[in-house]
Subunit: 302 residues, 2 copies
């Protein structure tokens, strides 16, 4: 088996060049000090980054392709959550010298398949030695100024939605193969602009609390409306992380039209409650009709 | 001493917000899914990333501030090498849960001082758990289209320059506190446009070989012209890495004007040889007058 130490850094760079997906807007990709890129006028840039570390976010025995998929997909999810389109990525990879060249190639194949599906160019990177495998991706996206969606626009009376079933992502392995909701986000941004949006990474309870805080509002959600993956309790669906579904709010009249929409590009969204004035806090209606205050502690990284 | 695990991720994010250096062009910095940025028209974006790993690039006992300094400065050096201006950065940090909050703060202070000096905004990031400290920075820069400098424009007859003394960077600790040559690069791009340029990270011999390959040319350099740091032999100055000085080429007439330049913004540049036709290869004139072929193997990362 070819070891990376045998292939060497420049062998690796040559391999990586094959994984570039160069748009005409890439003036220069891998092979200079920095990538040179053209930007479209009238748009904001979106800039985000995510780091995955072996034994914290994934294990060496997991398929490298899936790790590569996840590393890029979670960045795409962040750009989608702002209403944007992902465009350019740079990849930093830390790997032990004795890792197989196949592992590294599989990692890039996983990234590249996502990149290709969503029209992203991988335009550069850095490859260094590290005892544990570390993958860091920084992603640039763009959004038309009028389509930018932030966390801070939710207003009392808005409906609250999620874009898919929640819970059990880590246990089931879904966190390694999820589809970032770029299509859904772009559809919403263009046709039913949400008042606030983010992606679900730390769990519904904690993440909705971020929107509520940023928007200075409260919320009342209904437990029985929360779409749960098979075998997942609503309590788990509230707190499990890494769902990477969209969480968004929208004025009621527009929300009704979204649910009635019958276009060829129809997508599924699930209303789970309503935005309330801040003084009411963040509460949940149980199936019994009892109303509880939601515990908003999300996933603790440390 | 406050441990990071006590401060928690959100405590950390609040701390980091203080280190943002928000330009009016930052629509939204830390605190949403992605940073939202405005771009200037008529410019190319420059996009680069670098990863530093504990026990490979630095040791835990080294000052965290210096590590933060280096992490950002080496990205700035890459953007400078294209003739550009650094503008926005995102920072990923992997740290053990039991690391002191002071260590993390010092790391960011080191970055922030560089960011402030060069007008860069730190607009986002990711903080994760990792056994070894890992710092990854992705940097966005901009360059006016006509000022972009790549590696591929060197022509026979051009003079070859470096922007400062070389060698001994790792041994002396200079690699942790170097000044990225942004000012020098912007001066050159505006007034004496180099035909090719890069930053010296893997050593003069290996890096000049990159320019020669990209430009399909050869070179003849003079050993006695290579500016060396005190106590460093020319042989070491040729092969030591991490100098982060600029290496560039320029047509002879312009090169002479550069050396004669007497403006208030005068900076020092050192001619070390000339570009030759490709068939002559990459050679060096020894002080004795003997001419040797240069061994171009640079630093091996694996």
């Amino acid at each position: 088996m070819t070891k990376l130490s045998h292939l060497g850094e420049f062998g690796l760079i040559e391999t990586l060049k094959k994984f570039q997906n160069l748009l005409p807007r890439v003036v220069k990709g891998i092979g200079d000090d920095a990538a040179v890129l053209k930007v479209k006028g009238g748009r904001y840039l979106l800039f985000t980054t995510d780091m995955l570390v072996e034994d914290v976010h994934f294990l060496r025995r997991m398929p490298a392709k899936a790790v590569g998929h996840k590393a890029l997909a979670c960045n795409l999810s962040d750009v989608a959550a702002m209403g944007g389109e992902p465009v350019f990525a740079v990849v930093s990879l830390g790997v032990p010298g004795d890792i197989s060249a196949k592992y590294v190639k599989d990692l890039y194949t996983g990234m590249w398949e996502v990149a290709k599906e969503f029209g992203v160019s991988i335009v550069g990177g850095d490859t260094v030695r590290s005892e544990k495998v570390v993958v860091n991706i920084a992603l640039l996206g763009e959004v038309e100024k009028r389509r930018l969606i932030r966390r801070q626009g939710a207003r009392p009376g808005d409906w609250i939605f999620v874009s898919g079933a929640l819970g059990g992502s880590l246990k089931s392995g879904r966190h390694l193969k999820f589809t970032p909701r770029v299509k859904e986000a772009r559809f919403l941004a263009a046709k039913f602009k949400p008042s606030a949006m983010m992606d679900l990474s730390d769990g519904l309870a904690g993440d909705l609390a971020h929107i509520l805080k940023a928007s200075c509002v409260g919320a009342l959600i209904e437990e029985k409306l929360i779409p749960c993956h098979r075998g997942v309790s609503p309590a788990r669906a509230m707190t499990d992380g890494e769902d990477f579904e969209l969480l968004f709010t929208m004025p009621a009249t527009r929300a009704k039209k979204l649910l009635e929409y019958e276009g060829d590009d129809k997508l599924c969204f699930y209303p789970i409650g309503v935005v309330r004035p801040r003084r009411e806090g963040f509460r949940i209606v149980r199936p019994s009709g009892r109303i509880d205050v939601v515990e908003t502690k999300g996933y603790r990284h440390f």
